[in-house]
């Protein structure tokens, strides 16, 4: 799997694509693969706050519920409505159209603690 170079990654298998003061957050290919068939996604409403390292929603496969954790702190600008109707898109395109939320970043310096694509790849390989 190619993990996009311009994303940052967490140990909990989320990705962040930062663009100035905003960012897009999703789960990685590895995460969706481990979960299996995804059947339900719960996301926060626009306007709510997320905190780095805290859970902001959940992704459910047939068998299990998995929390998703915020890679950064901020305010939710948009939740991906595609996933309410088509949660299976998370299995198909986790780095693309099946992003989870867009946020405004409250402390852009939080990015420094996240992994690069290469670091994440070796982290996943070692798991």
């Amino acid at each position: 799997m190619n993990y996009p170079e311009n994303f940052k990654y967490t140990k909990e298998h989320e990705w962040l694509e930062a663009d100035g003061s905003t960012g897009k957050i999703g789960i990685t290919h590895h995460a969706q693969h481990e979960l299996g068939d995804i059947v339900f996604v719960q996301l926060p409403k626009p306007g709510s706050k997320v905190t780095k390292g805290q859970t902001f929603g959940s992704v459910e496969s047939v068998k299990a519920v998995s929390d998703v954790y915020a890679p950064v702190s901020g305010e939710v600008l948009e939740a991906n409505e595609l996933l309410a109707k088509s949660p299976e898109k998370l299995n198909e395109d986790p780095h693309g159209e099946a992003w989870l939320i867009k946020v405004s970043l409250s402390s852009p310096d939080e990015l420094t603690g996240l992994m690069s694509a290469a670091e994440y790849q070796s982290y996943v390989d070692a798991e």
Partner: protein, 369 residues
């Protein structure tokens, strides 16, 4: 592999599962495949065509001797006397207080020879339980290590398996069995299953398991047979409302609560738990198992609390998506007067109540024919 994984028990098909890239999990101490291609695909293969499961983790016990039937009748709730040779039924082992030791399948070879299939994680407990109740001229034997068990399930199961045996499978009625040859090796062929579909459970010697598994996959190729894991087994059995030990049935649940009164034969004479069940019948049960369907967005899962009229009322025993119905379904215990279809309930999902409705079960019943 870490130390925990190394301690897990394996079936004779473990290497086959690995070569098929199965996702393996610890299931009650067994390293078992939870899925191969994906739970939904596997589930749908069984509902529409055919799927193959390795259920070799299940336990097998034999009860033999002049009073074997007396012992089986004494330790299990169903009537072993009513079974004909070659017939099987669903039954339960109970404690004196009426709670479940396990649910089991009883196969009657003759009135002096019974073959019991029991849950993997309960097999030692069941064996000890039956032995402790044995005041008859009968011998109980633990024979799990002599059997691998393959479940071939789905509308194309018969056609697939028929290619590998001279036994006329259409003549085996539902919940009957026979001994024959499958893929060149001796096998016990039972028309039983845990999916709600037609199908067979085939018991063979462990050393033949890989060959028989591969032969079945070859025979089913024209029907796009899929190896299926425990994930699909669970969604399939839930749709068919078949109980799972540790979920719907436990030591603190009795058969009437679990809606399994039909496997309790009070008119057959004494059996372990009978006294308690008589008292329970007299006073009536207070809670009962009932099906539900989620009405709002959310999946009610095992262990979640259920509320009614703004008060805690019960708990979910099994819940998840129903691939066949395209709904989120589940089973829960509720006060007996509420455990009927048509009641509004709330399943507490992450501290938030989500609306659901009690519904008739089974959720899925296979088309007749």
């Amino acid at each position: 592999m870490n130390d925990t994984a190394a301690e897990l028990k394996k079936t004779p098909l473990f290497d086959v599962h690995r070569s098929l890239n199965a996702k393996l999990v610890d299931f009650g101490g067994w390293n078992m495949p939870v899925q191969y291609s994906g739970i939904l695909q596997e589930h749908n293969a069984v509902r529409t065509s055919v799927g193959l499961f390795d259920v070799s983790h299940m336990g097998e016990l034999t009860v033999r001797g002049p009073e074997a039937e007396k012992l089986v009748n004494y330790v299990s709730t169903n009537s072993a006397t009513k079974l004909k040779p070659g017939q099987a039924h669903y039954s339960a082992l109970l404690y004196e207080h009426g709670g479940f030791v396990d649910d089991i399948l009883v196969h009657k070879i003759s009135s002096t020879d019974f073959f019991l299939c029991v849950n993997a994680s309960n097999q030692e407990k069941d064996f000890e339980h039956i032995r402790s109740q044995n005041r008859f001229d009968a011998e109980v034997e633990f024979v799990s290590d002599r059997y691998a068990q393959l479940a071939i399930q789905g509308p194309r199961a018969l056609t697939t398996l028929q290619k590998l045996t001279g036994t006329k499978l259409s003549e085996i009625k539902y919940y009957w069995f026979t001994d024959g040859i499958v893929a060149g090796v001796p096998a016990r062929i039972a028309r039983t299953g845990y999916t709600g579909e037609d199908g067979f459970e085939v018991y063979v010697a462990p050393e033949h398991a890989v060959d028989v598994w591969n032969a079945i996959l070859d025979a089913g190729q024209e029907f796009q047979i899929k190896p299926c894991g425990l994930g699909a087994r669970n969604t399939l059995r839930l749709e068919a409302k078949m109980a799972l030990y540790g979920h719907e049935i436990t030591a603190s649940i009795n058969p009437f609560e679990a809606d399994l009164g039909w496997i309790v034969k009070m008119d057959k004479g004494d059996f372990v738990g009978r006294g308690a069940l008589e008292k329970i019948s007299e006073h009536g049960i207070t809670r009962k198992l009932v099906g539900f369907e989620m009405k709002d967005r959310g999946i009610g899962r095992d262990g979640y609390e259920v509320w009614m009229d703004n008060k805690p009322a019960g708990w979910v025993t099994s819940g998840g998506p129903s691939p066949t119905l395209g709904k989120n379904i589940g089973l829960c215990y509720l006060p007996v007067e509420s455990a009927v279809p048509g009641n509004s309930i709330q399943v507490i999902i992450r501290d938030a109540p989500v609306d659901a409705l009690t519904v008739p079960t089974p959720f899925y019943k296979r088309p007749k024919g």
